[in-house]
């Protein structure tokens, strides 16, 4: 029988894969940012699994990885804020993709 930490570990791996897929393939920056957040959440859960497994000395989970995740979540939020501000400004100036100028017909051009 699979343990609950392993289950959440698998969930984290799944989130990472889904996030990566979106980050690699989504043509528009906003969707990439969202995918990045999924990817980040998956990564944080790995810390969570380590924390849960490390429950000891009367603590329900190892606090050190939890603290790291809290820091990580805030950093990811800051990154999202900067990225969103950037992509909004970029959209205002008429660009909406990440790959500049070059003819790139099948890939990054908005339809």
């Amino acid at each position: 029988m699979i343990s609950s930490t392993a289950l959440y570990g698998l969930c984290a791996a799944g989130l990472v894969a889904i996030g990566l897929y979106g980050l690699v393939l989504h043509p528009t920056p906003l969707r990439k940012v969202i995918a990045f957040n999924l990817l980040g959440s998956g990564t944080f859960i790995f810390f969570g699994v380590a924390a849960r497994r490390g429950a000891a000395a009367g603590l329900l989970a190892d606090p050190v990885p939890q603290a790291m995740v809290i820091t990580g979540i805030v950093v990811a939020f800051a990154a999202t804020a900067v990225a969103v501000a950037l992509l909004l400004r970029l959209a205002e100036s008429g660009g909406s993709t990440l790959d500049p100028g070059a003819p790139d017909p099948q890939d990054d051009r908005p339809s």
Partner: protein, 502 residues
């Protein structure tokens, strides 16, 4: 299973000052909104240089690393800062480059006298200081998560510098940079999570004692090193670098190219020599070197084909970064007792330092040339010699170091790498080093040739450049050249604090 404890050394508090001083400056500029943001920066810059020099003197005098345990909490629970010979060298390098950049940037980022605060000076000076804090933390940090925070600091300071002018291309470049750097960060963090799950510590010294050869460690290192390579823009992960470094204002490009991309490389170095289970994997080292070789050859040719000066220099940065990755197999295969006593390791570090000086000088010189001529098309650079002769001379001297011609730091570095490649019979690496030198010479001469040509008839000088700015740029280039007089052997100083890590 208790890892050896860090003992705080006398003078360790200076390490804290090195990290916190730029933060104080940054917060002061932000909060006070003084008429001239640069005034605060000019207080902090020399101060930081003094602190770096003081730490260097301390390390040199005691012959041991300077250590500080924050809050008195021992790692792995707490966090330690530690300055060994290598990190203190890079700290001094950073301080020198930033001070020079600060001087040159005075012309472009002074607050106009009729305004209380202007956007670009305020942003530029706060971010430069934030960047400094990040770099010092990268060099001093001993905890992988602490290093993650430092890397994020670095990214957040570097990205807005890229799009300071707000043009569409630079916004695009900045967004690409940010997102790709973020993937790199996440991969790094994922690796850190796996390592914590496997060892219950992220302290470098602790990991060094515990590291096993198992799947978790391998995958973690693979993710972390690849993530860091993305941040360092090693070929073929250089997608973001050329537009970002070419689009930023010259003063910012100088810092980005000279220092920022070195930080992730520095962490790779730490991971490889301090964390990876030893003896390190020879094939993986070869992989790194092959990417380095591809970087050198491919991006040098690309540099040769650029029409714009700053793009050329940016591609040259990717090429020169390639040399750094050659040191992994060279340092490992050497018969020196430790990696850092090998010629290859020393050559790699020297390449890092001399490239930082030369590239900073080159970008600044390119900036001044562009300011004077009003453009940076290589084809139309004629007349530059008559308007900004000192900048062109600085460009030439810096180019000397990039080409690896004597006497220059780049020459000694490449000579050491070549020697190491010969001694360890890595012939491909040797060939790439030589070929890279020839290509670098080609792209540098292409520029000099145009810059030294007589001005065409419709030549007009757009702006006159104050002498002190040109001389600062020249000073950096001369530093790169003077490095060429170091002896051709491993230096004891770079090895301080590395033997018998705690």
């Amino acid at each position: 299973m208790t890892p050896a404890a860090y003992t705080a050394t006398e003078g360790g508090a200076l390490l804290v000052v090195a990290i916190v001083l730029p933060v104080i400056g940054m917060l002061a500029i932000f909060a006070l909104g003084l008429r001239r943001a640069e005034r605060i920066a000019y207080l902090v810059l020399p101060g930081g240089l003094l602190v770096a020099l003081a730490i260097a003197a301390d390390v040199a005098r005691s012959g041991a690393a300077v250590t500080y345990v924050l809050g008195g909490w021992q790692p792995p629970l707490g966090i330690a800062l530690r300055a060994d010979g290598l990190s203190v060298t890079l700290m001094v390098l950073t301080a020198v480059v930033l001070c020079a950049v600060g001087l040159v940037a005075r012309g472009s980022f002074s607050t106009p006298t009729d305004k209380a605060e202007a956007r670009s000076p305020m942003v530029f000076w706060t971010l430069i200081l934030g960047l400094w804090c990040a770099l010092n933390t990268v060099f001093l940090g001993q905890d992988l998560f602490n290093l993650f925070v430092a890397l994020e600091l670095l990214t957040f300071s570097a990205v807005p510098l890229v799009c300071l002018d707000g043009r569409r291309e630079t916004l695009q470049a900045a967004l690409r940079y940010l997102l790709f750097a973020l993937i790199g960060s996440v991969l790094y963090l994922m690796g850190a999570a796996l390592l914590y799950g496997a060892y219950g510590t992220l302290d470098l010294a602790g990991l060094r004692l515990l590291a096993r050869n198992d799947l978790a460690t391998s995958v973690a290192l693979g993710l972390m090193i690849a993530g860091l390579m993305a941040k360092a823009a090693l070929f073929p992960l250089h997608l973001w670098l050329p537009p970002a470094h070419a689009g930023a204002p010259a003063a910012a490009s100088a810092v980005l190219s000279a220092l920022v991309v070195k930080a992730p490389f520095f962490i790779i170095l730490r991971l490889w020599f301090d964390v990876a289970p030893q003896p390190a994997n020879a094939m993986a080292a070869q992989m790194l070197a092959w990417l380095g070789i591809a970087s050198i050859l491919f991006c040098s040719v690309m540099a040769l084909r650029q029409a714009r000066l700053k793009l050329m220099i940016a591609y040259s940065t990717v090429a020169q970064l390639g040399y750094l990755f050659l040191m992994f197999p060279l340092a490992m295969a050497s018969d020196a007792p430790t990696a850092w006593e090998s010629v290859g390791w020393t050559g790699g570090v020297l390449q890092l330092v001399s490239h930082a000086l030369a590239k900073a000088s080159m970008f600044l010189a390119a900036g001044l040339i562009a300011e004077a001529l009003g453009h940076d098309r290589i084809e139309n650079l004629d007349g530059a010699m008559s308007v900004v002769p000192i900048s062109v001379a600085a460009f030439g001297l810096a180019g000397l170091s990039l080409m690896g011609l004597p006497p220059s730091g780049g020459f000694v570095a490449k000579l050491m790498l070549l020697t190491a490649a010969t001694e360890t019979a890595n012939w491909w690496i040797a060939a790439a080093i030589l070929m890279g030198g020839i290509l670098a010479a080609s792209y540098v001469f292409r520029v000099l040739n145009r810059a030294m040509a007589a001005p065409s008839s419709n030549f007009a000088c757009k702006a006159s450049i104050p002498l002190y700015r040109e001389l600062t740029v020249l000073g950096l280039a001369i530093c790169a050249v003077v490095l060429g007089f170091v002896p051709l052997q491993p230096f004891a100083f770079l090895g301080i604090g590395r033997v018998g890590l705690p």
